[in-house]
């Protein structure tokens, strides 16, 4: 893959620890974390300035939830796929995530393999489009 056009990812999570850890998990993969946001407002500001292929979004965040953000991304940035993550794994949350346009949902804590499998799936769909 052309290094300048690596699959570009935005991380959205209010936990500094989680964002750092996901970035480390994606190091030395074909996927590049190009931006991080602590909340939905920061995420939408980033998306207005640049496009990304994928947003990995935490469900529970202050003020505006990840579900609302996922809805917003689906409507306004349809070229950006979304993977939802959360410490909560209730069926209702998974359903809400998919209904909001997410391609996948992963419950935290997740392994590097689970994360990369989910990102791979989105990347494959993107390539085939």
């Amino acid at each position: 893959m052309d290094a300048d056009k690596r699959f570009q990812i935005l991380l959205v999570d209010d936990s500094d620890f989680t964002r750092t850890h996901i970035s480390q998990m994606l190091d030395s993969t074909p996927y590049q974390v190009v931006a991080e946001a602590r909340n939905a407002t920061e995420a939408t500001n980033i998306l207005q300035d640049r496009s990304v292929h994928l947003a990995i979004v935490d469900v529970v965040m202050p003020e505006v939830s990840g579900i609302e953000l996922a809805n917003y991304i689906s409507e306004n940035f349809p070229e950006t796929a979304v993977i939802m993550i959360s410490s909560l794994g209730q069926e209702s949350i998974v359903i809400d995530s998919i209904s909001a346009g997410a391609s996948d949902f992963i419950q935290k804590p997740f392994s590097k393999e689970s994360l990369i499998t989910a990102v791979n799936k989105v990347f494959t769909t993107f390539k085939e489009a």
Binding site: D14, S15, F17, H21, P62, G89, Q90, S92, Q107, K108
Partner: protein, 174 residues
């Protein structure tokens, strides 16, 4: 809300829900191979909770859904040396560990007992809020448990206090 045989003591949730919560706790949790949580004291009803010490770092979550209330978590840094540059990471690690732990418990509660509850994003309470939440006058069912957080060959005691103010459910089992 039930009135217990001791008419001076109110309970806010039924014994069935208390048992469901106890059955939903977990023994241990791997925090992305960066830390581990291990259960020390199982979840029990608590009427008196000791106040926060100056060595304890707090984090709070609001509880909503079928169960409503507030969850207070403390990590004890007494006699631990944490470098100033590491404090932010340490607080973030603790906060996320509690988030993951509570998330697992609530997921189990939903899966096994059909009790659907959620936690808010974490926030740091001020001392007045902590005092109020820990006070025996604060009208809630208090339950507490403790875990050890093991990170970088150090162990830290964490205590978690659930203040449950009400439930909207009658027990139903899947």
């Amino acid at each position: 809300m039930e009135i217990s045989p001791n008419k001076n003591k109110r309970t806010y949730i039924s014994n069935d829900i208390i048992i469901a919560l106890q059955d939903s706790t977990i023994e241990s949790l791997n925090i992305y191979n960066q830390a581990f949580l291990e259960l020390e004291t199982p979840l029990i009803n608590t009427s008196l909770v000791r106040g926060k010490t100056s060595y304890e770092i707090p984090v709070t979550f609001n509880l909503g859904g079928d169960l409503k209330g507030v969850i207070l978590c403390f990590i004890d840094t007494y006699n631990k040396s944490i470098k100033p540059n590491d404090i932010h990471f340490f607080q973030s690690l603790f906060t996320e560990s509690m988030n993951l732990l509570l998330g697992q418990i609530l997921t189990n509660l939903d899966k096994n007992f059909d009790i659907s509850s959620f936690i808010s994003s974490p926030y740091i309470p001020n001392d007045m809020v902590i005092l109020k939440l820990l006070s025996k006058d604060f009208q809630s069912q208090k339950m507490s448990m403790s875990y050890k957080l093991i990170s970088n060959a150090s162990e830290y005691n964490c205590r978690i206090i659930l203040n449950i103010q009400r439930s909207n459910i009658t027990m139903r089992f899947k």
